[in-house]
């Protein structure tokens, strides 16, 4: 669906995007992460044809924008970071205008349907400037979905929303995902990406550090399994016992909670459980946990561990 190769954008004072090669498959939800200033927005702008790349190749739907500008644009829906609406238009007029841009037939039905879905139908004839932030974001979604795009590009879709608003937007995204729409989400709210994305790419200082599914990302950062154990008592020998177990990478005892990283080559939880019990502690609970996306992300973007990136030296 989207494919770039050594995509680069250089400004006079800064190289905003450096040789980014990414690949978005049809039908997947692709999370595009990175701290502020990583080059995400510039990359997205290049994908949308708003900024001309300095070098590199880029294709959408298997072709370039120059070859088929209108067809490609007709297949993309975009929700920008800062939703903008024309002040002098009502929400209905705004959507109607965009429906005309996309040459949608029976636009009234389509607008009504979408507005109804997001609960904005009754507010259609007032100006978006009178909407709340959440309502404006939903309106942006409606605008992006008017023409039933094959590719949905979302830039910080839940930024500034309350939990209720976030849940609504998440619902919309999941709905589109179910219908087979390819979704490209750029965000720095990791929890949302973690919930929805099939694959994730991480940008940092203009470079694409990694592109993989979540498990793959976690594995590349940390091949161990994390186990959280809660004990009723902590014998003095417990730490020593845990250190002696060869499959334990490291452990941390915090009161009655023990965080243990186990070698992930095989399942050593039984051995662990025995060792803890043998030390005199009583296990109340044991939980296996994977590294969070945040932890993974922080690892990748930390300068000290830059070598974890896919063979790219800083």
């Amino acid at each position: 669906m989207i494919s770039t190769r050594d995509l680069t954008k250089t400004y006079p004072e800064v190289e905003a995007v450096k040789s980014v090669t990414l690949n978005v498959q049809a039908g997947e939800v692709y999370g595009f992460l990175g701290p502020n200033g990583a080059g995400k927005s510039t990359t997205m702008a290049m994908l949308l044809g708003l900024v001309k790349p300095t070098s590199g190749q880029l294709s959408l739907f298997g072709t370039s924008l120059e070859n088929d500008y209108f067809a490609i644009k007709n297949a993309i829906g975009v929700v920008g970071e800062n939703p903008y609406f024309f002040d002098e238009m009502t929400a209905w007029e705004f959507l109607s205008f965009h429906a005309d841009i996309f040459m949608i037939e029976s636009k009234e039905n389509r607008i009504n349907e979408l507005m109804e879905n997001v609960g904005l139908r009754q507010y259609a004839n007032i100006r978006p400037s009178e909407y709340s932030r959440g309502m404006r974001q939903k309106l942006s979604f409606v605008r992006a979905l008017l023409h039933k795009p094959d590719l949905l590009m979302l830039d910080e879709p839940v930024s500034g929303l309350d939990p209720h608003g976030i849940r609504q937007i998440r619902g919309l995204i999941e709905e589109q995902k179910k219908s087979g729409t390819t979704i490209f989400i750029s965000s720095h709210i990791l929890s949302e990406i973690e919930r929805t994305a099939d694959r994730i790419a991480i940008m940092h200082k203009g470079k694409l550090l990694v592109e993989d599914n979540l498990d793959g990302l976690r594995y590349s950062v940390d091949q161990s399994v994390r186990v959280n154990v809660e004990v009723s008592n902590v014998p003095e020998t417990l730490s020593g016992v845990l250190s002696d177990i060869p499959h334990i990478v490291d452990h941390n005892i915090d009161g009655q909670h023990i965080e243990i990283r186990l070698d992930a080559t095989s399942d050593h939880r039984a051995e662990l459980s025995s060792a803890i019990t043998a030390s005199g502690a009583t296990i109340i609970g044991m939980e296996t946990r994977k590294a969070s996306l945040e932890e993974t992300f922080m690892t990748f973007t930390d300068d000290n561990v830059i070598g974890l990136s896919k063979g790219e030296a800083q």
Binding site: T90, Q122, Y123, N125, I126, R127
Partner: protein
Amino acid sequence: MRKFIAAILLSWLGLMSMDTDVRIVAADNHDDDKRDLPGLVDKTEKREEFVYGVNAYNGTLYQGVFHPPSVDTIYLLADTINIISPRKTLIYYWAVTNEYKADFDSMNEDIPGTLEIKLKGELVLTVEPTDYVIQYPEGITRGAAEVYLGGAAQRKYGEWEEALRMYRLDVSEYYEASRNWRTDLTERVQSGKVTSEDDVLVSQPMRPADFLYSSTKVFRGVPLNLPPGEYDIQMRNDAGKIVADSVKKLVVFQSDRVGVGYTVIPEDKWTTPEQTYNPDEMLYVRSDNTLYLDPFFESEYNEQYFTHLEAPQAPNFVNFDWKWVKEENFKISDSSKWRRSEDADVTFIGERRPGPHINDEGIAYDMQVVERDMLQNPIEFEDYMVRQNPGKALGYEILEAMEGLSQGMRDRSPDFSAFQIIVRRSIQDLEVNLQGDDGAILSGSGRTVDVVRGSGSTDLFLALILPIVLGIVMVGYRRYSLKIHREKLASASIENS
């Protein structure tokens, strides 16, 4: 609101920029500290310079101007004789009028040599100076100018001197005859032989007509009669060298159009006539008014060129404007309405004006009048007199000269001659032209007369109703529809809650 204010500002600037009268008059000096009265200015420094004195024909008469070294282009009319005189004189800068002046009285040396004319770098003409005289046999404000060169100049000047001498003799004889007549009249009055005005007028001597024949002295200059074009000129002295400061551009130009203009005299303001030059102009007139149209020939020239022909030191300005120049009046035909009525033994004293027809080289013209595409009776060219109301009463009356004559206004000539147009309120689509006795309409002589029935009253502002109402409707509709939606929304919310 910013847009609005900026638009007002910009449009004012734009309007100013399109107004060709932005050029500043040469005499306008804003530095009041330096504006001194003549005689009180700082002592002017004079320096010796080569200049071209030019007698430039401007379509009506010859205008004497000079071109100091600071002026690099001379402008002359095409296909007519102009005289260029290379001189050495003292020039000084006159701050009051922002121009150089020449003190020919102190120094006016002839520069011997030949004038070379180049066209596109190639020498096309070499002219030597010769004697010349410029004369106006019918007067400087009436007839055409005549230029005589060489021996003819001397001869014509001699003729003028002779004519002047004869005129002086006539005047002298008139004064003597007048003295004798007054003496005789006194005797006749005392002896009771004078019983009516006619007795007085019968034998009164006639004053000779004013001596209008005008002539310059015989001067030396280089006559040029060139076709239109841009030339270069230079003065080559007898030693074969180019005289310093003599190299200049020479622009010879011709008129773009010729036409007929009118001096239009409104009946109630005959001392302040208007001029209409542009054949495309309309004459906007008040209804129930009478106009008198006196035609003249005119030509249209490039304004910049013509201005510099008459004032070489005028500022340069870039524009594409054109200027109509009044050139000559139509000739008055010889057929005369003024008759000496021998039966009544009445003599009209004063100058006799031939008329009524105006003509150009033998074709007599009347004024053709077309109203609503229908031909009306033509108007003849008539003489008119203005009679002031007697005593303390203000005002005057314009009479046809014959009528004035019959009312005793014998001691003066007509005040003007013109075509009379009576403008009634009911007139619509009135056009006037000069039509010759051969039936042809004289090109450029047409004018449309538009009778203004309304005045500058505040009723005109009624036209503003349209945009105001339109604005209220459009903006109001928009705001109303938004308001309705909002109210519906508010009531729906109340119902839901």
